[in-house]
């Protein structure tokens, strides 16, 4: 409500400022016929920016300091004797009660008279400060408007100023990417540190047993060994790559080197459809179709394959990654200069010899980079594993058995019936951090390799 009012007022200010700058500039151009440096739109925007920024500053300042001021106000409303009798928790509770009273939410139990008066005072205080803030913002905005308007002359370079502001805004947008990374790292690290206050990092990173205790058993947290999850992750990733790499690479080779144009025009987009299919769909497919199929196929040949197993998840994940591998490989094969291919053909090499002996070795670094990117995608994949891998965090090497991965454990620990302040759920963040670091390293390494490869043929 309040913010809506403020936003509305700011918009009005913006409009007025723009209009006044615009008309001023227009007037300059028509009256004395001199050449005005910038177009009226720029002068309008210039004044608008000038007016908006101080107003926003005032509002922002209040948003920043307001809470502290309000807090002090509330404390000042509590009788001194009461204040002295309260410890920190008690004080917080009292402040909470007063806040609740002021905002119209009831409080439990009897409302003490001082609480009631404090609540009423707080309500009027909030109303008054609201008016004051709006007033201050308006005054600042209008003053800045007038100042900016007075600066408009024929030679005034409003365009340059406005463009500088646009530039800064663009810079701010690209800072979002950094903020995201900072946000990821900060949120993962703070929570992970809390986790490590319960469980030693050694036990976490080198533990071989994953058995977090349930929420009920306070004190005994259980074991949080990462290794079973890591092994599960790696196993599924390996199976996925075993499916995706040969199929994806051969498909890319066939499509780019052998296939008729028509086949390519049809097959390429169809394969790329696979890349657009949500992973939950693959998960369902794995759960209800691929898993039972593999189990039955296993029975036929006398293998004991679980319907939900590393194999099921890995195979389906491999299918999902095929387009990723094939389109990256395709790009990279296409980047190998044609002259190299011609060189081999010119010597009388057959197509497959050219591909195997010349193209692939030349493209190898790039392809390895592409595979690493695919690996990092497999490592971070969640929904297929949630549905089809069987969620068994046990350290073992049999791909026909269910396994758990890092991602799926994050989901389990954070959405299960776990104690929110204990390691049971905090471990999710430690796992997230581990995952982040693993994929980060993979990505950096892969990007480095791919970039080196690109440079080689630039």
């Amino acid at each position: 409500m309040n913010s809506l009012v403020i936003a509305g007022l700011l918009l009005v200010l913006l409009g007025v400022a723009y209009q006044s700058g615009w008309s001023r500039s227009r007037a300059l151009a028509t009256t004395n016929g001199v050449k005005v440096h910038s177009r009226p739109q720029y002068h309008g925007s210039y004044v608008a920016i000038w007016a908006l920024v101080p107003a926003l500053l005032v509002v922002g300042l209040w948003a920043w300091l307001g809470d502290g001021i309000t807090h002090n106000f509330i404390v000042s409303q509590i009788p001194v004797e009461t204040l002295q009798s309260l410890d920190q928790t008690g004080l917080n509770a009292t402040i909470g009660r007063i806040n609740a009273l002021a905002s119209g939410y009831g409080v439990a139990g009897e409302v003490l008279p001082y609480e009631q008066t404090a609540g009423d005072a707080l309500r009027s205080f909030q109303f008054i400060t609201f008016l004051v803030v709006i007033g201050a913002a308006a005054v600042a905005g209008v003053a800045a408007l007038l100042y900016a308007r007075s600066r408009i002359t024929a030679r005034h370079r409003a365009r340059n100023a406005v463009e500088r502001v646009i530039n800064i805004a663009l810079l701010a947008c690209s800072a979002v990417a950094i903020l995201t990374t900072v946000g990821i790292v900060a949120s993962l690290v703070t929570e992970a540190i809390r986790f490590f206050s319960f469980i030693s990092p050694l036990d976490f990173f080198f533990g071989t047993v994953w058995n977090p205790n349930n929420a009920g058993s306070a004190g005994n947290w259980g074991s949080y060994g990462l290794l079973p999850l890591l092994v599960g992750t790696l196993m599924i990733t390996a199976i996925a790559m075993l499916v995706a790499v040969p199929v994806g690479l051969m498909a890319a080779i066939y499509l780019s080197q052998y296939a008729h144009r028509n086949l390519r025009a049809v097959a390429k987009p169809i394969i790329e459809i696979l890349a657009g299919i949500p992973t939950i769909v693959f998960g369902f497919f794995a759960l209800v179709t691929v898993g039972p199929f593999l189990r039955d196929a296993g029975n036929l040949v006398g293998l004991d394959i679980n319907a939900t197993s590393a194999l099921t998840a890995g195979v389906v994940m491999g299918i999902m990654i095929i387009p990723f591998v094939s389109s990256l490989s395709d790009d990279i094969l296409n980047q190998v200069p044609r002259t190299l291919r011609d060189g081999a053909y010119g010597l009388g090499a057959t197509k497959s010899e050219t591909i195997r002996n010349v193209l692939l070795p030349a493209a190898l670094p790039g392809i390895v980079g592409a595979f690493l990117l695919a690996v990092s995608r497999a490592v971070g994949e969640t929904m297929i594993v949630v549905l089809a891998a069987g969620n068994a965090p046990v350290l073992r090497g049999n791909p026909f058995e269910p396994v758990a991965t890092i991602t799926v454990s994050i989901v389990n620990q954070l959405t299960g019936d776990t104690d929110f302040a204990g390691p049971q759920s905090l471990v999710g963040f430690a796992l997230g951090l581990t995952l982040f670091v693993i994929t980060l390293c993979l990505n950096i390494f892969a990007l480095y390799i791919v970039r080196r490869f690109r440079e080689q043929y630039e």
């Binding site: 190299l340 011609d342 010119g346 009388g348 090499a349 057959t350 002996n357």
Partner: protein, 269 residues
Amino acid sequence: MTQQSVNSAMNPTDALERPIRLTARDVTVHYGAKQALHGISIDIPDRAVTSFIGPSGCGKSTFLRCINRMNDTIEGAKVGGTIKLDGEDIYDPSLDVVELRARIGMVFQKPNPFPKSIYDNVAYGPKIHGLAKSKTDMDEIVVSSLRKAGLFEEVKDRLNEPGTGLSGGQQQRLCIARAIAVGPEVILMDEPCSALDPIATAIIEELIDELRENYTIVIVTHSMQQAARVSQRTAFFHLGNLIEEGVTEDIFTNPVNKQTQDYIMGRIG
């Protein structure tokens, strides 16, 4: 530098007397809808250098690529007419193009050594064609090819270093050595010097002059001077047509065709 190689060129009439190795009749090429060659007929003599000249885009490279069927590798390229090597139609479906390319080697505009060692670059052709029975056989082929290409002395100590580490001129000679290693009868060269500096160019020109004794050579060049220096016969292409063809000296001093004259005088192109 050019003085010497022009001197060493054999008597022009000599080339005329040599047996014809390659004959092309009415060769046309379409790239998709676009016709790049409009019926080229030419005879190319044995053990002589024939050069193709003409303004950019006139179809020199296209015709050259017809000769060892490199156009097969270009999607949408369609070749018509006949080209015969020693009387054998190279577009005969029963002919194995792999074998053909072993007989007709090619050197490209930009030196394109494989990203392998110098040794492996030269050995690659003999290896895939199964020309060497043993390691020593192979060593011999590699060394003699590098020698013929005039590169051996320069690289003998670093045969295992990557071929891409050589200078441009050395790379081009490596590519020539690579082509020679398969023992071709004809060598096609598409502007082999255009990416090289004058000194490297002179070395390659000399090399071509030497190779002429054992190989039939066809070279595309954009430099008339180069054509005059290295070739015994010259063919002038324009807009997909073969305008005029004959003994180099005649073409340059006494062109019959008006367009050839214009080109040589620098009025077109």
